[in-house]
Symmetry: C2
């Protein structure tokens, strides 16, 4: 039943400090392992049914042990949300920090974000729905994530302004305006629309409008 449970007759590890950077044996309870198992439980049971007791059971420990690492169920779910959002950052920062002209970089960043979100939503709709719930529960984490995304945008805009490719705008508020204007193509609440015919044309149209507003004539 459990993917990690019943570590049955195995002896508990005695000295873990011999090789400080070696991977922890699966018998050691760490935040990372709890997080992984929580994702697993969430995936299986869904956000409504997944309980701390389920996570503990899957790990083969008592739920009291889980509370030793995460102060509350909310904190545990928040950490899972954080983890998931962090993945999104990394992939896109490549575009933000690349060399070359700003316009295609901005286009690719926006298209990359849209494509990534759409894949997440399409490849495993159930898991996506689960994360939609978590995201709804953790607006503070999400707000921070959004700020990071807008900072990436601002870096691209700043580059474009510096190179004279874009008109002289204030990068930070402009980045926010770009984020807001493309809202429909990254807010998961609109995921259902991302699979309608004509969505790519609509995305292109908004991108064109935004980029025309930025380009030095």
């Amino acid at each position: 039943m459990s993917r990690y449970g019943h570590y049955g007759g195995l002896p508990a590890p005695s000295s873990l400090m011999e090789r400080p950077y070696a991977p922890m044996p699966p018998e050691t309870l760490t935040p990372a392992r709890i997080l992984e198992t929580t994702e697993d439980v969430l995936r299986r049971y869904g956000p409504a049914k997944a309980t701390v007791v389920d996570v503990a059971r899957a790990l083969g420990v008592s739920h009291g042990s889980v509370y030793r690492h995460f102060g509350s169920k909310a904190a545990l779910r928040e950490a899972v949300t954080q983890r998931w959002l962090d993945q999104s950052h990394t992939a896109l920062s490549a575009f933000a920090d690349a060399e070359g002209p700003a316009e295609p970089r901005l286009r690719e960043w926006l298209a990359g974000l849209f494509a990534a979100k759409r894949h997440k939503a399409g490849d495993d709709p159930e898991l996506f729905a689960t994360y939609m719930v978590l995201v709804g529960e953790n607006s503070a984490v999400v707000d921070r994530h959004i700020e990071t995304m807008i900072e990436q945008l601002a870096r691209i805009v700043e580059g474009g302004v510096r190179d004279g490719e874009f008109i002289a705008v204030d990068p930070a508020p402009t980045a926010r305006a770009i984020w807001d204007a493309t809202n429909r193509f990254h807010d998961p609440a609109y995921a259902a629309e991302w699979f309608r015919p004509g969505i790519d044309a609509a995305f292109e149209a908004v991108c064109d409008l935004v980029l025309r507003g930025l380009r030095r004539a």
Copy 2:
């Protein structure tokens, strides 16, 4: 208890056809009167509790009589939604059909839409929440409403292109792009953000970006 109920000893009207365009006496059951009462019941009990029986009770008739005019509860709610959305059209079409340069008209149309929505949300949050639920139930009605709004936008854009004020764009898809880009400022799902500090600056920034993308350099 009921605002309309107990029309007690009054005799039923005998001949209604004498003056065809006279206002119906309140004792006559008409779709319009049912709609009004339904709005009232919705306002009082909220979308979850308001029932067809409640509406009938408020009208002082049996619920069977309500079903004579509206085939189902869903149809009744849909009609209420339609009615509400129709009000939004009318106010803004003034901007869409006005004379003068397109840029300020477009700006005022967008600002007018945002202001109207924000007032609806702020003046009576409970009623707004009620209509949010109705709107969620009636996506077909909402989709039609959105098409009408985009048509109004397209008329402004077309005027701007004709007068050489805007660059030569295809009005219909451009209007849709403008609608999409300003999404955050008209989709009621974001109502909570409309009262955060800085929202007006964010709105202006998106408007500026969009209008710069339209203006002939």
